[in-house]
């Protein structure tokens, strides 16, 4: 799903938030890219709610996120809590450098998320892939 219109500026276009949901048999992957501004929170929540409805573990891929406000962290926290209430596993793809990891650490919530360097590691962690 595309974010709000960015007009004709190709540079801005590349930074717009975009979300994609990939439904695998044993897991749902929600991938976010670009600048996750507050206006895109609703789009993210829609993808997360859809993922929750599948009742399988979920991996959220934030490796290509270049901006992430605290509001997004709040949405992710509520989502992971909802998954845990349903005893569903969850994992975040959070390489060590990106902005999203830093914001999560600054909000003291890194212990509530299960962060991994790669998508494969995240999928292994939620039981959707076998460790090689």
């Amino acid at each position: 799903m595309k974010g709000p219109s960015s007009g004709n500026d190709p540079l801005m276009e590349t930074r717009m938030a975009s979300y994609r949901t990939i439904a695998e048999p044993k897991a749902t992957i929600v991938r976010a890219r670009g600048e996750l501004d507050i206006t895109s929170t609703r789009d993210l929540c829609k993808h997360l709610i859809d993922a929750l409805a599948r009742t399988v573990p979920c991996a959220i891929d934030l490796r290509d996120v270049s901006y992430c406000p605290a509001r997004i962290v709040g949405a992710l926290l509520r989502f992971t809590l909802a998954l845990e209430q349903r005893t569903l596993m969850h994992a975040l793809v959070l390489p060590s450098a990106p902005v999203a990891r830093r914001i999560i650490e600054l909000t003291d919530r890194s212990a509530l998320f299960h962060g991994h360097e790669t998508l494969r590691e995240a999928l292994v962690a939620v039981g959707a892939r076998r460790a090689s």
């Binding site: 974010g3 801005m12 809590l81 909000t107």
Partner: protein, 268 residues
């Protein structure tokens, strides 16, 4: 007066300057739309980068500025511009994000993160954690200004000592008389030499705290809010000290003011 999106940046040489007028400054006005917020963040990032701010200092400051901008986007009136100003000087960077929206409750002095299930309430704590100076000035129906400041490390400049800040906290009455003053260990200027009944006469013409408050309010009302480092003349010692208002709380008859002095400040 304002174009929908406009930016003007003025950079000068990298010589540390004691005069606020000589510091590199940035002013950006945007309409409260998502795409323009991204533009403003990018302009701020470029401005700070061009003025020597390294990645380690830039990242947390941009997080704080992004949160302030997100709040402004949410609260701004449709069609009314959001103003972002920034200044770099004497080992620190400052930004002000001002809107003319409905106003917000000013955060308490100590900010705690909300519980995990909370939908809101992480923005102010995040701003505080990412900055050395953080202040919110807001009036219902008039608007809000968030002031952010952070020291940076730059081999070309004097490396600031965080321990030198803040400069002190004082409680003053409506006449500008200091009721209490708590200097910090590294404060070099004693209370009687700097702070007294006549202190606000030197405070850019603010005769007393009421005038101080009115000036501040007028800035916000005119969307002309500029809280940048300014020089404070210590008449007794004939020195100039660059001072910031880090946090301000005004009650009916007294005000608590947290002052911070630029670590590069000194005699003229």
């Amino acid at each position: 007066m304002h174009e929908e999106v406009s930016a003007k940046a003025r950079s000068c040489d990298r010589t540390p300057s004691r005069s606020p007028a000589d510091r590199p400054t940035l002013s950006v006005w945007i309409s409260p739309r998502h795409t323009h917020a991204a533009f403003a963040r990018e302009q701020l990032r470029l401005f700070l980068t061009e003025n020597g701010i390294g990645a380690d200092d830039l990242a947390p400051f941009m997080i704080a500025a992004g949160e302030a901008l997100a709040n402004a986007l949410e609260h701004a009136r449709a069609g009314e511009p959001i103003e972002i100003t920034a200044v770099v000087g004497d080992g620190a960077m400052y930004a002000t994000i001002a809107d003319t929206g409905r106003g917000v409750a000013a955060p308490p002095m100590d900010l705690y993160l909300p519980p995990p299930q909370a939908e809101r309430g992480r923005g102010f704590p995040l701003m505080q954690r990412c900055t050395d100076l953080f202040a919110v000035r807001s009036h219902s129906g008039i608007g809000t200004a968030v002031i952010l400041g952070r020291h940076f490390h730059d081999a070309e400049r004097a490396v600031p000592e965080i321990g030198q800040l803040p400069y002190g906290v004082m409680l003053v009455d409506g006449a500008g008389t200091v009721l209490e003053y708590d200097p910090y260990p590294n404060a070099e200027v004693p209370q009687h030499a700097v702070f007294g009944a006549n202190v606000f006469a030197d405070f850019l013409g603010w005769a007393n705290i009421d005038a101080f408050a009115r000036t501040f309010d007028a800035w916000i009302a005119r969307r002309d809010q500029r809280l940048v480092p300014f020089e404070f003349v210590n008449v007794a010692r004939g020195t100039r000290v660059t001072v910031l208002v880090a946090r301000l709380s005004i009650d009916d008859d007294r005000a608590t003011i947290c002052l911070a002095a630029s670590p590069a400040a000194g005699g003229t």
